[in-house]
Symmetry: C2
Subunit: 337 residues, 2 copies
Amino acid sequence: MSTPDHGKSGQPVTMRDVAKAAGVSVATVSHVVNDKPGARIGDEARRRVQEVVAELGYRPNALAKTLSRGSSRFIGLVADAIATTPFAGQIIHGAQDEAWKHGFVLLVANTEGNAEVEDDAIAMMLEHQVRGILYSTWYHHEITVPEALRQTDAVLVDCFASGSGLPAIVPDEERGGRTATEELIAAGHRRIAFLNTITPSPAQTGRLAGYRAALEAAQIPSDDSLVFLAEPQQEGGYAATADVLASGATAVFCHNDRVAMGLYDGLRENGLRIPDDVAVIGFDNQDVIAAHLRPPLSTVALPHYELGAAGVRMLLGLEIPVETLRVECPPILRHSV
Amino acid sequence: MSTPDHGKSGQPVTMRDVAKAAGVSVATVSHVVNDKPGARIGDEARRRVQEVVAELGYRPNALAKTLSRGSSRFIGLVADAIATTPFAGQIIHGAQDEAWKHGFVLLVANTEGNAEVEDDAIAMMLEHQVRGILYSTWYHHEITVPEALRQTDAVLVDCFASGSGLPAIVPDEERGGRTATEELIAAGHRRIAFLNTITPSPAQTGRLAGYRAALEAAQIPSDDSLVFLAEPQQEGGYAATADVLASGATAVFCHNDRVAMGLYDGLRENGLRIPDDVAVIGFDNQDVIAAHLRPPLSTVALPHYELGAAGVRMLLGLEIPVETLRVECPPILRHSV
């Protein structure tokens, strides 16, 4: 079911091609590509192989690799509440599409964050000899790695565990914050408020850093009196309206689309038009909301689909191994800026 | 992992207890409870067994039953897009909780409605000897049963296939529509508009029938000039504002919460207050929206969790078999009525 990827020549690139170009043995390429524990490969040889893999566009045949290992066609996805909340379902979609592409079936266990259910789910997956497990969360935060996860290959998706040695695929919060702010600057704004969340998280610090970086790059002095903290939902955005207006901001970067939705209500109650009187940009590209506000909300998308897909690729050895893979949050421009 | 349920005496009710009370053999009880194909049980005996099962609260030990059948601890859930849309994720939650409760693991395949992926997913599930398959959709509609589904026990969840012989668990749209309308009547309204969807569906006809039934029960003459059709999202609700106002309605039952959200914007632009000037009730209890509108929206909940849970119970023989099980849509009262 797996189709080999093709190199630039149109011919599938083989492990032999990589070995030849890197000046190493096929066994060495196999060890590097499969990241075999215990294999002693020098740093220099490993680096050369990885460069050639990237250059030639080599993609191991995941199915063949799996069969030779004697594991099953399953990839496990342990999710806290992704399938059941309206927030990050596209992680499953992306992981599933990528898994199917390589001949694997995604076995999803939604644990609702219950540790006992989680342990049982991982045990069941191990029992069914999954190729590996994606461990993922419905919002980006640091987690403690469940002990059982150490018994197989694992990749963290939309979460991370510092020092755990497990690769993590996360949204690039800082770059996303910068993107959002740059859109407001590009529309001519210089006095830009940031309605950040009160909840400590990588999104809180990352988006703030991106906001500041965008201002600095545009030589706009950073002004902390323009940064406000709000509950990360509609009520928070609405409650912050008076502060935002008092600050004299002409544009507002909201921590997420729910906050923007609440701010919309607050601005309207003050007789202000979006974007004519105040421009608003959100974050998340939240389904059901973003495209359907009046006016439709410009925002920055959380790349949930891509997080899931990249997680599967990382698990199958189809991504160059890195400790943290940060995925871009692209701008989605509608009519609020 | 399965714990026996207990009867009214506090002792687990056994198959022997059921047989004794029904005056039949244990084998007959087993055949009725397990709904074995080919078993010839008279209608009268079957009815007696089912009555006693309900009366004594007998619950077969699902795990033991499964083991004796030689099938696995898996229950399959084939979903079109439930895991990836923000609409019906709680179907998975309910199915999973119920499956775990009985010692089963839910194997979820989200197919995005792709027939080929669906066939492959069902084949994989059969290969892994699932106890049965829940076939479910993210919104209530009639489906064509995939041929492969005939090879195992199957239950349709949030969908149905007339004449297929497969049990269907669906929301009680009519009763839900009646509930919503009754809330408006109870608040003193007599001129009640219904903003129905333009999309033909069981929700469209069922909620309308419920609206009419509630009016009739309250001896309010039905007036078709108060029934409007709208796109089933925010834009539809907003666009219908003028018609609703021209109708002289003092209260509006909206086909769903997204329509209500759009109507909120339209009413506000006309300087009207909710619920003082116009009362609004929705349908769905949509996450992210319903509780967070200004004012928070009174609505009727789609019982997604219960649909999933009941689906698993039906599959495991823990519900009295019926062709269609309609699950109640409970009212969720907030501040818009």
